[in-house]
Every structure is written in structure tokens, then in C-alpha cells.
Point group: C2
Chain length 223, copies 2
DNA sequence: ATGAATTTTGTCCGGACGGTCAGAAGCTCG
DNA sequence: CGAGCTTCTGACCGTCCGGACAAAATTCAT
């Protein structure tokens, strides 16, 4: 319910003028969403301030509020905007492919996501930490069904003897956990390792280890 | 530096009277820290309010501030208090033991931690998300050295042929990621699975999968 | 019991925050 | 060029929050 009202208010900005979106509108909304992502991903909904976002977007607070009337609207806007992009690699996993190449590719993509778009990952964690009140609907419907869909694919691979008998859903959780860890725990990793995943050598070591351990853990031993 | 001043202010509460701690002092500080953990772990430092914590601790705001003069002090107090407990299982991993039983035991302990003390896990994530400004010192010294110590143990196991050749530090990251995932992403897991790790069947499936995949991924194939 | 020390509360302050509003400035298209 | 719409700004408001403070209530040692 809170999700639906959020969507409505989000569209208000777009539907304000009954005509098309202006060039300036498109530009500024983009800049605002980028700035909002940056701030929300660090401080969460409550911790972030509109002033902070406005400054980062290079405009005055009232002007930002001209585009997104409520802080809450801006939050759900950046949240839903990110969700699609974030789930995209999951859909690319093809059923008819070889499990090893498909899963390896998926894991690598998720690791690249963590390296290239860490803020998006952190935004979700902040939301999920709060019990995902703004995503509850999407999680229980869209995410649940997409996970079940892919779990079915994995189950088929298992039935065909191409994969060891592991719980498919928990396997997905393991992949998500190990890959997103490099975005969410960046500060911790940096403290221990001295550098983050943006460093090519670190990224290589991370992906080799993650892919190696996970794949050995689920692939049947070769003859 | 911010860490040192934090420690000082934390001790101020204890050192207020130059004598020992009263019974009431001990009780109330305990209650406050528990309440603070609950609130901080949900909303983070900025998002949490002192009133909220005070109410949850069953006392007035000024009274809470009598024990912890600044919100910030309370935050660092609950943070450092939790850190020791959180890292404890890591130290129990014995070098002279069998890698399989040692690592399996460690992973299981971490999973139990995620099930029994999810708030502690979420508190850290909130801090790390902000770049760990209040933990920077501890992370770069204590955590770094304890990780390197255990990495050396793992390296020895690898040298002895008891473990496959994987990057020890990234292996530790994988263990942390997969286990803490069940605390940090509780809401997501609950949405997909319909229940969380407090459910015995779910916990069993989770630990079987995590332990199974990880151990197969790092143990040499048995003859 | 009583005086000192500790604990608790009501009240208040200054600043920050989300959001409003009226009007100024800029853009667009005839 | 100029009318009408869009975009932007400064000033302002009510509320919430962290924290201060003095005084009241309670505890404790003797």
C-alpha cells in the first residue's frame, strides 16, 4: 500500500505538466536521482537530508523539492529505479546453457556490479535493514517469483546430474552474499586488504576465489 | 583519533564517581545499551533518536543522558561492546586441529550468531556502510592482524595439502558474507522463503548448503 | 534518622530539518 | 519581441532533535 502511494507520488513529478518532459526536467531529475543515490546509500532514508542531496546535485533545496515534492518520493524513486538494473543479470541466466558457464558468468557479473555500482548495492542493504518497508510488495511478488523461477532451472540441472544436490534458493543466497559483500563491506575489506575491489589484482583474487570455491562446491567431480 | 576520544567519553560515564559502579548504574547502563543496540541497528547513528532509545529502555531522555552524556558516546559504547563478542568465534579456530572440523565449526558458530544475535550483525553493517568512521582504528589494527593471523593458519593447511589452494583472506570474506547474510538480509530472505533462520528447518537447510558448498569448494577430493 | 550522594524528571533552548509560498528569472514559441 | 509557461530562489514556518539545567525524588552510609 505504501508502495503504491509511493509510485503514484513518483509519477506526479512526471505528470505535473500534462505534456511531455522538458529537456531541463530530464536533466535535473537525472542529477537529483544520482545525488540521492549517493546520499541515501550512505545514510539511509532517515539519516539523509534533503539539503545534502540538493547540494550534491548542485541546486537549491526548494528547487529539488520542485521536482520531488517529498523526500520520501525521491527515495522510492531512486529505489525502484535501481531495482530493475540490479536484478537484470539474474534474468540473463539461460536454462538451456551449461550450468558451469551460466553460473560462472552470473557470478562474475554480480562481482562487476559490486565493483562498478557499489552505491546501488548499499542502497538496498539500507532498505532491507529497515525491514524493506518500501520494497515489501516487490520482494514478496517480483523477487520471490524470479528466484523461484531460477531455482527451478537449478533444480533441473541437479536432476540432470549436472549439479550436485544443493538447496537452490540457499545457493542463490550464497551467490548474492559473496558478491555483494565486496560492495557492502567495502570499508572493512579496505581496512584488512589495504585496497578495494576497484584494484584489478584484488578483483581478480576475489573473483577467482569466489567462483572457484562456489563452482567446486556445486559441480560434480569430473571423471 | 575520533576513536580515542570516543573511548574517553565512554569511560567518563564509568569514571564519573571516583568510586565503584553502583548496582543501579550497572543495571541501567545494561538496559540502555540493549535498547541502543536495537535502535541503532535499525536506523543507524543518524537515523536513531535518543528519545526512541530512552523509551525502549523505559526511562526519560534526560535520565539516559545522565548515563551517556552524548548520543555519540552511547553509539561507540554499544559498538565496541559488540565487537569483542562478534569476533570471539574467530579466535577459537585452532591451528592444530583438522581443517574440516575447525572450519565447519566456525561456520556453524557464525550462522548461529546470525540467528541468535542479528542486531549485532546489522549494527556493524550500518557502521561499515558509512565507511566505518568510528571503527577505522580497530579495523586497521585489531581486525587486520587477527585476519592475517588466521590467514596464516589457513596457508599452513594449504601447504600441508589439507586444503585446496585458495586465497585465505577472500575465503574468510566468503565465510563472513554467507553467514552474516542471514542476519543482514533477513527481510529479503523472509520475503522469498516465507520464513527466516529462526525456523529450525530453514536454519538446517541454510547451514547444510553453506557448509556443504564451502567445504566441498576448499577440501581436496577424497581418495 | 539524617545528611550527602546519586538518580530522576520537567522544562527549556538553539539548531537542523522537511516542506511551503510568493515572487523573480529564464525559456519557448507565436 | 512579448505572452505564457517553466524553472528557480529567498524567506519563512512548524516540528523534531540533541542537549543543558535546576530542582525534586530516591538511595545509601553512618
Amino acid at each position: 500500500m505504501s508502495y503504491e502511494t509511493a509510485i503514484e507520488s513518483q509519477d506526479l513529478a512526471r505528470a505535473r505538466g500534462s505534456k511531455k518532459r522538458t529537456r531541463i526536467q530530464a536533466e535535473n531529475e537525472e542529477r537529483i536521482l544520482d545525488a540521492a543515490l549517493e546520499v541515501f546509500s550512505r545514510y539511509g532514508l532517515r539519516g539523509a537530508t534533503v539539503d545534502q542531496i540538493a547540494e550534491k546535485a548542485g541546486m537549491s533545496k526548494p528547487n529539488l523539492l520542485y521536482y520531488f515534492r517529498r523526500k520520501h518520493d525521491l527515495y522510492t524513486a531512486v529505489l525502484t529505479r535501481t531495482l530493475d538494473m540490479w536484478l537484470a543479470p539474474f534474468g540473463e541466466m539461460a536454462e538451456d546453457g551449461d550450468p558451469e558457464t551460466e553460473l560462472t558468468g552470473y557470478i562474475r557479473q554480480k562481482l562487476e556490479q559490486s565493483r562498478d555500482f557499489p552505491q546501488e548495492s548499499r542502497l538496498f542493504i539500507g532498505e532491507v535493514l529497515l525491514g524493506a518497508p518500501h520494497l515489501d510488495g516487490v520482494l514478496k511478488t517480483d523477487l520471490k517469483s524470479i528466484v523461484e523461477e531460477k531455482a527451478e532451472v537449478i533444480r533441473r540441472w541437479i536432476r540432470d546430474g549436472k549439479l550436485l544436490d544443493v538447496d537452490p534458493v540457499h545457493l542463490v543466497f550464497m551467490i548474492w552474499a559473496t558478491t555483494q559483500h565486496y560492495a557492502d563491506f567495502d570499508a572493512q575489506i579496505r581496512s584488512v586488504l589495504g585496497r578495494g575491489v576497484e584494484d584489478p589484482a584484488t578483483f581478480r583474487a576475489a573473483s577467482d576465489t569466489v567462483i572457484g570455491v562456489l563452482m567446486r562446491g556445486i559441480l560434480p567431480v569430473r571423471s
